[in-house]
C-alpha cells in the first residue's frame, strides 16, 4: 500500500500527548516492541494507522471489483477456479483489515458503519489502481502479476510494522499475495506464449496500466503533490522505505521480466543508470493521480455505485439481522 494521504499533514499533532508517555512509547517501538490495541499510543500514531489500514482494507474490497468483471469470463475451468479463489482471498484481506481498523477507531466511537459511509461519501479513499477500467482478459493477468506484485513490495516493507495487529495480518496477507502474483504470472505467460492476438492484448494492457503502476507507490516527496505521509510512517516504524525506494525495488524486480517476455513499456526514456544505481523513468502525471484518488478516475463512480447499490439494496437484510432504533 502506498502512503499518499490527502490531508496527511493535517493529522500531525503530538502536542496533546503526555511527553513522558510519548517518550516511553517511542522507546518501545525503537526497541522493536509491538504495540497492541489496548496500549497507550500517541494520537498521531493512531490516526495515521486508521488512515493507512482503513484505506488498505477498503482497497482490497474495491480491488475485487475490477477482477470480478473477469471472474465468470475466465476462459477455462481452471482459470475460473483460480480467479475465484483469488477474489475470495481479497475479500478476506479486506475483512481482516477492517477488523483491525475497527479496534483502532473504537476510542473515537466509530465503527464499520462509519467506514462504509466514509467510502460512499468520498472521505475514505481507495487505491488509485482500482479506479481504472478493465478491457480484456489480459487485465485480469496484469492485476495479478504487476498490481499484486507492487502490493507485495509495499506490504513486505511493513512486515515488521510496530503495530502488532496490523503486522500479524500482513504476514498472512503477504503469503497469500505471493500466490496471487503467481496466478497473474501464469495468465501472462500463457498470453505471452500464445497467438498474435493474445500477445497484442497483453502489450495493450501493459501500456494502459503502466502509469497507474508508477503511481502505485505514491509521489516521491510532498513537493510533488503537496502532501505525503511517508515520513510519519517511517518515524513510527510502520514502514521502512520511502515511496521512491519502493518504486525502484518494483522496477528492479519487474522490468527485466517485462523485457524478457519481449514486452515494452510506453516510455522511451526508461533505462537503468549504473552510476546513479537507479532506474530513470518518465514521471506519471501526478495531477491526474490526485484527481483519480479523489474519486474522479475513469471508473471511480461506477465502482462506488456498485457498493452504494449493495448498501441500499440490502438495508432490509441488515435491519432483519440487527434491528436498530428507527431514526427519522
Amino acid at each position: 500500500m502506498y502512503n499518499y494521504i490527502e490531508d496527511g499533514d493535517a493529522v500531525a499533532n503530538t502536542h496533546g500527548d503526555d511527553p513522558e508517555k510519548y517518550a516511553a512509547f517511542m522507546a518501545r517501538i525503537e526497541a522493536g516492541e509491538k504495540i497492541e490495541t489496548d496500549d497507550w499510543m500517541p494520537d498521531e500514531y493512531r490516526q495515521s494507522l486508521i488512515k493507512l489500514i482503513s484505506m488498505h482494507g477498503i482497497s482490497e474490497i474495491m480491488g475485487a471489483l475490477p477482477e470480478k468483471e473477469w471472474t465468470p469470463k475466465a476462459p477455462t475451468l481452471r482459470r475460473k477456479l483460480g480467479i475465484m479463489a483469488k477474489v475470495q482471498d481479497e475479500m478476506g484481506h479486506g475483512q481482516l483489515l477492517l477488523r483491525v481498523t475497527e479496534d483502532l477507531m473504537k476510542p473515537y466511537g466509530k465503527n464499520r458503519e462509519n467506514l462504509m459511509q466514509d467510502l460512499l461519501n468520498g472521505d475514505l479513499k481507495f487505491h488509485n489502481v482500482f479506479h481504472m477500467p478493465t478491457k480484456t482478459w489480459a487485465d485480469a493477468g496484469m492485476v495479478g502479476w504487476l498490481v499484486d506484485g507492487a502490493a507485495i513490495i509495499s506490504q513486505t516493507n511493513m512486515l515488521d510494522a510496530s503495530y502488532g495487529p496490523y503486522q500479524r495480518a500482513l504476514q498472512r496477507i503477504c503469503a497469500e499475495e505471493v500466490f496471487h502474483a503467481q496466478h497473474g504470472e501464469s495468465i501472462i505467460m500463457a498470453l505471452a506464449e500464445g497467438t498474435n492476438e493474445q500477445r497484442e492484448i497483453l502489450q495493450e494492457s501493459l501500456n494502459r496500466w503502466w502509469p497507474s503502476l508508477l503511481m502505485f507507490f505514491g509521489p516521491g516527496s510532498a513537493s510533488t503533490t503537496g502532501s505525503s505521509k511517508q515520513d510519519v510512517m517511517m518515524k513510527y516504524r510502520i514502514r521502512k522505505s520511502s515511496n521512491e525506494e519502493l518504486r525502484q525495488a518494483f522496477l528492479d524486480k519487474y522490468l527485466p521480466r517485462v523485457f524478457s517476455l519481449g514486452l515494452t513499456v510506453p516510455d522511451e526514456t526508461v533505462h537503468y543508470d549504473k552510476d546513479e544505481e537507479k532506474w530513470i523513468y518518465k514521471q506519471p502525471d501526478w495531477d491526474e493521480f490526485k484527481q483519480i484518488i479523489k474519486n474522479k478516475g475513469p471508473r471511480s463512480k461506477q465502482r462506488l455505485r456498485l457498493r452504494e447499490i449493495a448498501y441500499e439494496n440490502n438495508r432490509w437484510v441488515r435491519q432483519a439481522l440487527a434491528p436498530e432504533p428507527v431514526r427519522s
Binding site: 465468470p72 482478459w137 497467438t195 447499490i309 440490502n314
Partner: protein, 271 residues
Amino acid sequence: MTIRETAADAKQDPSYLKALTELLYQLADDDFITSFRGSEWLGLAPHIEEDVAYSSITQNTMGHAVLFYDLLEELGAGKADVLAHERPPKERRNGIYLEKKNGEGSYLEEPYYDWALTVVRNYLYETFKKTKLEAVATSSYQPLAMVAQKVLMEQTYHLAHWKMWLKQLQGSNDDARKRIQSRIKEAWNEFQDVLELGSESQSMEQFNLITGEQIVKERWLEDVTATLNNIPDAPLDKRYGSGRNGEHTADLEQALGILAEVYVSDKQAIW
C-alpha cells in the same frame, strides 16, 4: 448390483453409458450455473463477512462442477472445457429454476439483486444437492460414488450456511418474512424441474446409478418441511418446463454468453 470401476467398464454397455452421462450432465450443469449466479454477487453481499463466505462457497461449487465435467471427459464426452463452454442451451441439463437471474440489472452495472431469492434458492438447492449426492454415493459407477462422497464433505458446510440464513430471516421481522415467503411461493411453482431426473430416469435407477427420483424428492421434501415455516398449499410445479430435457429460458443464454465470452474469442488458443 454390477459395479463398474472405470470409464472403460462403463463404456462397455451403451445404455449404461447413456444413463450415466445424462446423470453427470445434470450434476455438472447444476453446479456450473449455481456457481455463476454466485460469482455475480461478489462485492454485493449484505456484509463483508458474507462476501467472504459466499465467494468461498461459489468457488467450491465451481470445483464440484469441474469434478463432474472431468468424469464426463473420462467417459469420452469431450474435453471438460468444451463441455462447460461450448454446449448450446438445448444440450444443457441444469434445472431451469437455477438459471433464473439474481434480479434486475447486470453484475457490472446497476445490479439490483435480491438476497431473499438467493437465500431461498441456495437453501433449496443445497438441500436437494445433499439428497441427490447421498443417492449417488453408493452408485454402481465407482468414480462417481467417490466424487459424491468427496463433494458431500464440503457441501455439508454450504447447506449449513444457507440454512442458517433462511432460519434467521424467516425468524426476524415481518418484512424479511414476507420477502422469504414470496420467494418460497415462487420456487414452489418451479422447483419440480430440479427434482426430476429426466428422460433417462428409469435407466439410472435400473443400473443402480442413483437410488431413484422418488426417494430423492421425498427426502428433500422432508428436510425442507422441517425447516420452512410455511409450505405452500399448491403442489410443486415446473412452470418454465424441464431443464433436464434441454428446455431453458433466456436467462441461461445470458449466463452462457458471459461464461464463454473469452473462451469463444479463440477456441484453439491456450489460455
